[in-house]
C-alpha cells in the first residue's frame, strides 16, 4: 500500500511541474509586459529596466522558469497590486472559505444524491423514480449562477418574513461576534505552524465555530452557507443520483442478488446489505470527479453570494488586471485539485485491492 501511495505521489510531480510551466507560459504571453501590467501609469522605460532586472525578467526564459519554480516552491507568489500584499497571504486567508463551501456542497450532494439514487433504483419505474430522474436531468442542466440567483430571490425576498427565510449573502449576520480558535481557546500568544493551522481552521466559520462550541455563531454561519451549498451542490447531486441508480440497477440484476431474494430476504435487506456495497465503487469514482466541477462552480457561487473566497478573488483580480493574483491562484487551485485527485486515487486502493496491483 505504501509503495502504491509513493508511486502515485511521484507520478504527480511531473504533472505539477507541467501545471507551473503552463501557467508560466500563459503569464509570459500576456500582451502587455509584466512591468507595465504591474506598475501601470507609473511605468517609464528606466523604471521598467530596473523592474525587469530586479525580478529577473531580463534573463533567458529557461532561467526565469527555474527561478519561478523556486519561488513557487517557497510559496513566494509575488505581491498583489490591488491589495498591496503578498499573494500567498491573500490565498492563505481566502482558501479556507472556498474549501468549506466545496466540502459542504460535496457532503450535501453525496448524502442526498446517494439516497435518491437508492430510492429510485429500489422502486424502478415507479412515479417516484421517474420524477427523481426528471429532476436530476433538470438539475444537471441548470447553471450554478442561475440556480444561485433564483434561490437567493426565493429565500431572501419571497420568503423574507417566514421562518425558512435564509440570508442571500455574506458569511455572518452583523452584530455576531466570532472568536477565532486561538482567541476561543486562550492561545493568542501562540506562534509558528500550529498557530497557522488554527488560523486556517478559524477561517472556516462553520467548522471553527462548531469545534469551539460557539453555537449561536455556528447556526448563523451554517444558515449563511445553505443557499451557496445547495446552488453549488445541485449539479453533482444530480450526477451522483443518476450514477447510484444505474450502478445499483446493474448489481441488482446479478445472480447473487437473485440468490439472496430466493433465500427469502426482504427488498430492503437485499438492496442495502447485499447490493449497495458492490454498487458504490463507481459512485465513489464519480464523487471524486465532481471536485473539479465544484471548484469551478465555487467561482460563480462566491460571486453571487458575496463570499470572499478564492473564486471571487480571482474574478476581481482579472477585472483589476492583478495578474500575479490570477497566476498564484491558478497554480494553488490546480495543486489542490491534483492533491485531492491523489487522495481519491489512493482511497480506491483501499476500497478495491485489485487497483493496487496494477
Amino acid at each position: 500500500m505504501l509503495r502504491f501511495i509513493l508511486r502515485r505521489l511521484l507520478l504527480s510531480i511531473p504533472v505539477l511541474l507541467g501545471v507551473i510551466l503552463l501557467v508560466f507560459i500563459l503569464a509570459r504571453v500576456i500582451p502587455s509586459d509584466p512591468c507595465r501590467a504591474a506598475l501601470q501609469e507609473r511605468a517609464t522605460d528606466e523604471i521598467c529596466d530596473a523592474f525587469n532586472a530586479r525580478y529577473g525578467l531580463d534573463e533567458p526564459l529557461p532561467v526565469q522558469f527555474v527561478a519561478y519554480i523556486g519561488q513557487v516552491a517557497t510559496f513566494d507568489l509575488g505581491d498583489s497590486i490591488r491589495y498591496n500584499r503578498p499573494v500567498s497571504e491573500i490565498i492563505f486567508e481566502r482558501l479556507p472559505l472556498t474549501m468549506e463551501l466545496t466540502l459542504l456542497a460535496l457532503l450535501f450532494a453525496t448524502v442526498f444524491g446517494v439516497t435518491l439514487g437508492i430510492l429510485s433504483a429500489a422502486r424502478r419505474n415507479s412515479p417516484a423514480d421517474v420524477a427523481t430522474m426528471m429532476l436530476a436531468n433538470i438539475g444537471v442542466s441548470t447553471p450554478v449562477f442561475v440556480l444561485g440567483l433564483i434561490l437567493a430571490w426565493i429565500f431572501g425576498v419571497l420568503l423574507r418574513d417566514t421562518p425558512i427565510a435564509l440570508p442571500p449573502s455574506g458569511r455572518l449576520s452583523s452584530g455576531l461576534d466570532y472568536m477565532t480558535l486561538p482567541e476561543a481557546w486562550g492561545m493568542t500568544d501562540l506562534q509558528g505552524p500550529l498557530r497557522a493551522i488554527l488560523d486556517w481552521i478559524s477561517n472556516m466559520y462553520v467548522f471553527g465555530s462548531l469545534i469551539s462550541g460557539q453555537w449561536g455563531v455556528f447556526l448563523d454561519a451554517l444558515k449563511h452557507m445553505v443557499l451557496p451549498m445547495v446552488a453549488l451542490g445541485t449539479i453533482p447531486l444530480a450526477i451522483i443520483a443518476r450514477m447510484t441508480r444505474s450502478s445499483l440497477l446493474d448489481v441488482l440484476g446479478l445472480d447473487y442478488i437473485r440468490t439472496a431474494r430466493a433465500k427469502g430476504l426482504g427488498n430492503r435487506a437485499v438492496v442495502l446489505r447485499h447490493a449497495l456495497r458492490n454498487a458504490l465503487l463507481p459512485v465513489v469514482t464519480i464523487i471524486g470527479l465532481q471536485l473539479g466541477l465544484l471548484l469551478s462552480g465555487a467561482v460563480l457561487t462566491e460571486t453571487i453570494f458575496n463570499l470572499a473566497g478564492m473564486g471571487r478573488t480571482i474574478t476581481e483580480a482579472i477585472q483589476g488586471r492583478d495578474y500575479l493574483v490570477v497566476q498564484g491562484l491558478t497554480i494553488v487551485i490546480a495543486a489542490v485539485y491534483l492533491f485531492i485527485n491523489l487522495v481519491v486515487d489512493v482511497s480506491y486502493g483501499f476500497l478495491d485491492p485489485r487497483i493496487r496491483l496494477r
Partner: protein, 318 residues
C-alpha cells in the same frame, strides 16, 4: 433436403431494395436514436429552439439592442418594468412586454429570443473546435506512439489537472475577453477528452486485420489514419461531442456571466444574467427568463446526448 431451396437469382432482386440497403445503416442508427425517449424530448426542445433562432426577427417584437424610449418606438416605458401580457390580465394601458423591460430599456423577450442564435452557435462551434483539434492530437499520438505520444498525452494530463473553468479563466486573462475568446478558451479546455478518446480508439483499431491489410497494400500513413482508422473511431466521438455541447454552452455562459465572454449589450444569456445580477431582488424577471432559456438549451443537448449514447453504445446503457 437437396434441391428444396431455390438458388437466389441475383438478377431478380429489386434494384431499389439494394439501393435502399446502402443507406439503411444510417437510417437504422437514426431510428435507434429516435426510439430513445430522452432523445425524442431533446429533439423536440432543440427543434423548438432552432426555429426560434432561425426566425428570431419574426418572433421578437423588437430588436435585441433597441432602446424602447427612442423613435421609431418611443413608447411610455418604465425602466425595469415587470412582465406584462394583456391576455393574462395585465392593465391594457401599459405597453405589452412578455418578459418585462431591463435596465437599458431593452425588451427582455426580444433579447432572450435573439440569445438562442448565440447559444446554439456557441455550442456547436466550441465543441466542433475541440473535436477537430482533439481528434488530430489523439490520432497523431496514438498512431505515432513513442515520444510524440508521450509529449501530447502529458500535455493533455496537464490541461486536465485544472478545474475546467479556472483554466478557461486563466486563458481568457491572456487572450482577452469576448465571445470568440471565451469559446476558444472553453474549446481548449475540452480538447483532452476528445484527444484521449481518439487515441484509445486508434490504439485498438490500428492492429486490426483490415488496417494491417491496407498497409500491406502500400497505403500511406496518412491514408490509413484518415481513411481507414478515423471513420471507425467516430462513434465515441459523436456520443461524447453531443454530451459535451450542453456543458460547453454552460461554460461559455458562465464566462460571460463573469464578464469575460460576450460583452454587453450583446444579447447573450449568460452576459444578460451577469449584468443584471444585482437586480435579482427588485426585478427578478431579468434573471429568470434568460436563466430558463439557458437551462432549456442545456437540457435539450443533454437529453439528446443521453439518447444517442444509449442508442449507439448499448454497453453503457444507463
Amino acid at each position: 433436403m437437396s434441391g428444396q431451396v431455390p438458388a437466389l437469382d441475383v438478377k431478380t432482386v429489386d434494384p431499389t431494395l439494394v439501393a435502399g440497403h446502402r443507406s439503411s445503416l444510417w437510417r437504422d442508427t437514426l431510428r435507434g436514436i429516435l426510439r430513445q425517449r430522452s432523445a425524442q424530448a431533446g429533439v423536440v426542445i432543440l427543434g423548438f429552439l432552432l426555429l426560434i433562432a432561425v426566425f428570431a426577427n419574426v418572433v421578437a417584437p423588437f430588436g435585441s439592442e433597441q432602446d424602447l424610449r427612442y423613435p421609431p418606438i418611443s413608447e411610455q416605458v418604465n425602466r425595469l418594468a415587470p412582465p406584462c401580457i394583456h391576455l393574462l390580465g395585465c392593465d391594457t394601458s401599459l405597453p405589452q412586454h412578455a418578459f418585462g423591460v431591463d435596465g437599458n430599456f431593452f425588451d427582455v423577450f426580444s433579447r432572450v429570443v435573439y440569445g438562442a442564435r448565440i447559444s446554439l452557435f456557441v455550442g456547436f462551434v466550441t465543441v466542433g473546435f475541440a473535436i477537430v483539434i482533439g481528434t488530430l492530437i489523439g490520432a497523431v499520438a496514438g498512431y505515432a506512439g513513442g515520444w510524440v505520444d508521450n509529449l501530447f498525452m502529458r500535455l493533455m494530463d496537464v490541461v486536465l489537472s485544472f478545474p475546467s473553468l479556472i483554466l478557461a479563466i486563466a486563458i481568457v486573462t491572456v487572450i482577452g475577453s469576448g465571445l470568440i475568446q471565451a469559446q476558444l478558451a472553453i474549446g481548449i479546455v475540452a480538447i483532452p477528452i476528445y484527444a484521449r478518446l481518439m487515441r484509445a480508439s486508434v490504439l485498438s483499431i490500428k492492429e486490426r486485420d483490415f488496417v494491417v491489410a491496407s498497409r500491406a497494400l502500400g497505403e500511406s500513413d496518412r491514408g490509413i489514419l484518415f481513411r481507414r482508422i478515423l471513420p471507425n473511431a467516430l462513434t465515441p466521438l459523436i456520443v461524447q461531442g453531443t454530451l459535451g455541447i450542453g456543458g460547453a454552452v454552460l461554460e461559455v455562459a458562465a464566462l460571460s456571466f463573469l464578464g469575460l465572454g460576450a460583452q454587453p449589450p450583446t444579447a447573450e444569456w449568460g452576459s444578460m444574467i451577469g449584468l443584471n445580477r444585482n437586480f435579482i431582488f427588485n426585478a427578478p424577471h431579468l434573471i429568470i427568463f434568460p436563466g430558463i432559456a439557458l437551462s432549456l438549451t442545456v437540457l435539450g443537448f443533454n437529453l439528446l446526448g443521453d439518447g444517442i449514447r444509449d442508442a449507439l453504445d448499448p454497453r453503457l446503457n444507463r
